[in-house]
């Protein structure tokens, strides 16, 4: 009885995962574009602080995306391995 409910929940969760992963890629690309624009503007007008912030922002976004796509699945595997049996 509960396995059916769990399968339904997991199907919805997989859909939500795909949606959010896609959204993350879009947001990261837009953020990268914004920081590229900021960096270019900074370089063009001699704003070294703007260019520095833009480079740091891009690096931060890359780290976040790598965290999402490399670390979270590993965390998932770890949590799956930690699944306890019923203690009663």
């Amino acid at each position: 009885m509960f396995n059916t409910a769990l399968e339904a929940i997991q199907t919805i969760a997989r859909d939500a995962w795909g949606f959010m992963a896609g959204l993350l890629v879009v947001v990261a690309l837009l953020g990268g574009l914004f920081y590229s624009l900021q960096g270019t503007a900074g370089a063009a007008f001699g704003g070294s602080k703007m260019a520095g912030n833009a480079i740091l922002g891009v690096i931060g976004l890359v780290i976040l995306v790598m965290f999402a796509f490399l670390v979270i699945p590993e965390l998932g595997t770890m949590l799956q391995n930690l699944k306890p049996g019923a203690p009663f």
């Binding site: 009885m1 509960f2 396995n3 409910a5 769990l6 929940i9 997991q10 969760a13 939500a16 995962w17 959010m20 992963a21 959204l23 993350l24 947001v27 990261a28 837009l30 953020g31 914004f34 922002g57 931060g60 976004l61 976040l64 995306v65 965290f67 999402a68 979270i72 965390l75 998932g76 949590l79 799956q80 930690l82 699944k83 306890p84 019923a86 203690p87 009663f88």
Partner: protein
């Protein structure tokens, strides 16, 4: 009576497995959503979002680890606090059945509280951890009180002439 107890316990075990699976799925989604929030905050220059997302992600991870590691340990400790032979004759069977069912229900209640807390943390809810811990404490307290009440009630009604378990006798005297 034993068959009924086994049936109910199997149902509880199924529910436990389903809740644990749902908890892991929700926790992973929550982590991804906090990462998305953090990336959006960075892209828009909203530092508060990034800070909130990092704190939320750590909270979700801590809650999940508590549910997967802490709850079974708490339930085993609470189950061990029940006296092994809380009566004589048929009351012993009834007592052991009640103890097993109480343990199962308590475990499910604690896990349900942590699943709710993870879901709440995933959408930025506040006060969820305290509510989950309160419910867990309530369950453990209820189980400990029941472990004292069962032997006392049995002796009060004169159903058993065996001496009370040492801890309970110490409490009464």
């Amino acid at each position: 009576m034993s068959g009924t107890g086994d049936l109910l316990l199997n149902l509880f075990r199924d529910a436990w497995g389903a809740l644990v699976g749902a908890l892991v799925a929700f926790a992973l989604l929550a982590l991804l959503s906090q990462t998305l929030k953090s990336a959006s905050g960075m892209a828009l220059g909203a530092q508060d979002w990034v800070r909130d997302a990092v704190a939320g992600g750590i909270g979700v991870l801590a809650l999940t680890l508590f549910a997967l590691l802490g709850v079974p340990a708490l339930v085993e400790a609470a189950n061990a606090s029940f006296p092994n032979s809380a009566g004589c004759g048929p009351i012993t069977e009834l007592g052991s059945l009640a103890v097993r069912l109480l343990g199962g229900l308590g475990a499910l209640r604690m896990l349900k509280a942590t699943v709710t807390a993870v879901m709440s943390a995933a959408v930025g809810g506040q006060g969820s951890l305290s509510a989950a811990l309160l419910e867990a404490g309530e369950v453990v307290l209820g189980m400990v009180v029941a472990s004292i009440a069962v032997p006392i009630a049995i002796h009060f009604f004169g159903l058993c002439s065996d001496p009370l378990p040492p801890g309970v006798a110490c409490l009464i005297n």
